[in-house]
């Protein structure tokens, strides 16, 4: 006999494989991909897109994965595309970014990083918009098929910061202040150029919901850059 569903959550799950698990998922992608897309305007060899299906082994269509956002550097002329076939582009994306919500956590522990490592993604980052505690951001550097965690540091104001060598940018996850749209999630993700020390504008204008930076923050940030980016 078939088992009866026991709860509304089981009967009407938020996760169905195809749509997003929640509104925070979409807005997390927009913040990351939108900020970088604007930043790389005019650079023909930098390509950013979101919610992208990737096939990474010719001859095996089951070797596929969906990245929430990808960054490809050094391949000029990439335009509109459907699925990203690694052998057609000639290389894997340099960076993959995923927004992780409670239901997809397990997948992101093993399956996703394994696929990225197999195809040769150099760095992958995960952002947890509904994180509790400080685990709102995690980054991995992938070398010879192995994931090495990137340093992620808690700042004096509670922000969690990592440094992406591939982008040359700080990724700053920060608990948003009251007044921010709950649909965007409890945490916001912001980018800051390491070279210029300038923050990238957030496509959703979430800067106004950030906490102030205490003066000691700058020193702590520089330390993250030293460890992660240089």
């Amino acid at each position: 006999m078939a088992q009866l569903p026991i709860s509304i959550a089981e009967l009407y799950p938020s996760l169905r494989g195809d749509p997003k698990e929640g509104s925070q998922h979409w807005w997390g992608i927009v913040s990351f991909a939108g900020a970088l897309d604007a930043h790389y305007w005019g650079r023909e060899d930098a390509y950013v897109t979101g919610d992208q299906l990737i096939y990474y082994e010719l001859g095996d269509p089951t070797k596929k994965i969906v990245a929430d956002a990808i960054v490809v550097l050094g391949v000029p002329g990439l335009g509109a595309m459907g699925a990203y076939r690694v052998w057609e582009i000639g290389k894997a994306p340099d960076l993959a970014f995923d927004v992780v919500l409670p239901n997809t956590k397990r997948k992101h522990l093993l399956e996703v990083p394994r696929a990225y490592a197999a195809m040769g993604v150099r760095e992958c980052w995960r952002f947890y918009p509904e994180a509790e505690g400080t685990a709102a951001l995690a980054g991995y550097r992938l070398e010879r098929g192995v994931c090495w965690p990137m340093p992620v540091v808690a700042m004096p104001n509670g922000a969690v910061v990592g440094c992406s060598k591939v982008l040359g940018m700080f990724l700053e996850a920060e608990r948003l202040r009251p007044g921010a749209r709950p649909a965007h999630g409890a945490w916001g993700l912001f980018l800051r150029d390491v070279a210029t020390d300038e923050p990238l504008p957030d496509p959703l204008g979430k800067e106004k919901h950030r906490a102030r930076e205490p003066s000691e923050q700058r020193g702590a940030l520089a330390a993250v850059g030293t460890v992660g980016c240089r």
């Binding site: 009967l11 009407y12 799950p13 938020s14 996760l15 169905r16 494989g17 195809d18 749509p19 997003k20 698990e21 929640g22 509104s23 925070q24 979409w26 807005w27 992608i29 927009v30 991909a33 939108g34 900020a35 897309d37 604007a38 930043h39 305007w41 005019g42 390509y47 897109t49 979101g50 919610d51 992208q52 299906l53 096939y55 269509p61 596929k64 969906v66 990439l78 335009g79 509109a80 595309m81 459907g82 699925a83 076939r85 918009p129 509904e130 749209r181 709950p182 649909a183 965007h184 999630g185 409890a186 990238l200 504008p201 957030d202 496509p203 959703l204 204008g205």
Partner: protein, 247 residues
């Protein structure tokens, strides 16, 4: 015997249900929904904008479900991050739905989805095709007693396709991307516009940054051209001087 797949496209199709089918679909949703979200937040409206999330529209029947590309809900304050949208929990259906067309959804977007949206009471249903290969770039429908009725779309002399969305309180304008814009966005762009000023609503970071970059590029090209002209003038002058007064 199983059929042999005929092409790489069949073996590795763009559509797998879960991700966006192509970059044009992703960026159309990204830009449109982002602009609306920022606009309504700035105005302080109780608007909830969401993309690519699941709606269940009939209690007791979990097969009655649909995933709009973009939807907007007004007048229900305090909605936070939400997984699936259950119409009976929220108390009403979204007020506005936009579907962004892609090769595999053209049939579904025109025939299947509108009947579901009408059934659940979505006031306005819009369709945008960034490639405009399969349909016209923009179409809008308003719910009436007999189902959806088309909203008139006007072609302006400058090529803009414009129509009014009563629910959003905005004009929706589809325009061709200028050459030089990113191919990944598609051929057509959909911008919400202010009804009074007819200005495009700002796309908080992207559009401004792109406009700045385009202007900087034009400035740089002009500077280069001017520098080249100045150099030619200087060379001509030097040449004339070297020939001396006798020549």
């Amino acid at each position: 015997m199983a059929e042999v797949a005929a092409s790489v496209d069949e073996l590795y199709p763009d559509l797998r249900g879960e991700p966006m089918e192509n970059t044009q679909q992703y960026w159309s949703m990204h830009l449109f929904a982002g602009i609306l979200d920022v606009y309504y937040e700035h105005r302080g409206d109780d608007a909830y904008v969401a993309c690519d999330t699941l709606i269940y529209y009939q209690f007791g029947d979990p097969t009655k479900k649909i995933v709009p590309d973009v939807y907007v809900l007004f007048g229900v304050p305090g909605i936070g991050g939400m997984g699936s949208y259950k119409v009976w929990e929220i108390g009403k259906a979204p007020d506005f739905v936009l579907e962004v067309a892609s090769p595999s959804t053209k049939h579904k977007d025109r025939f299947e989805k509108p009947s579901a949206y009408a059934e659940m009471g979505v006031q306005e249903y819009w369709r945008f095709d960034p490639q405009a290969r399969y349909t016209v770039p923009l179409a809008g429908y308003q719910l009436a007693s007999q189902g959806y009725e088309p909203i008139p779309i006007r072609l302006r002399p400058n090529g803009l396709l414009a129509a009014s969305s009563e629910v959003l309180g905005l004009t929706l304008g589809a325009e061709r991307y200028q050459p030089g814009f990113r191919e990944k966005y598609g051929r057509w762009a959909l911008f919400p516009r202010d009804r009074v000023t007819d200005e495009k609503l700002p796309d908080h970071a992207g559009e401004k940054a792109r406009a700045d970059a385009a202007e900087a590029q034009r400035d740089a090209e002009r500077d280069r051209a001017e520098a080249a002209e100045a150099e030619v003038r200087a060379l001509k002058a030097a040449l004339a001087a070297s020939r001396g007064p006798s020549s």
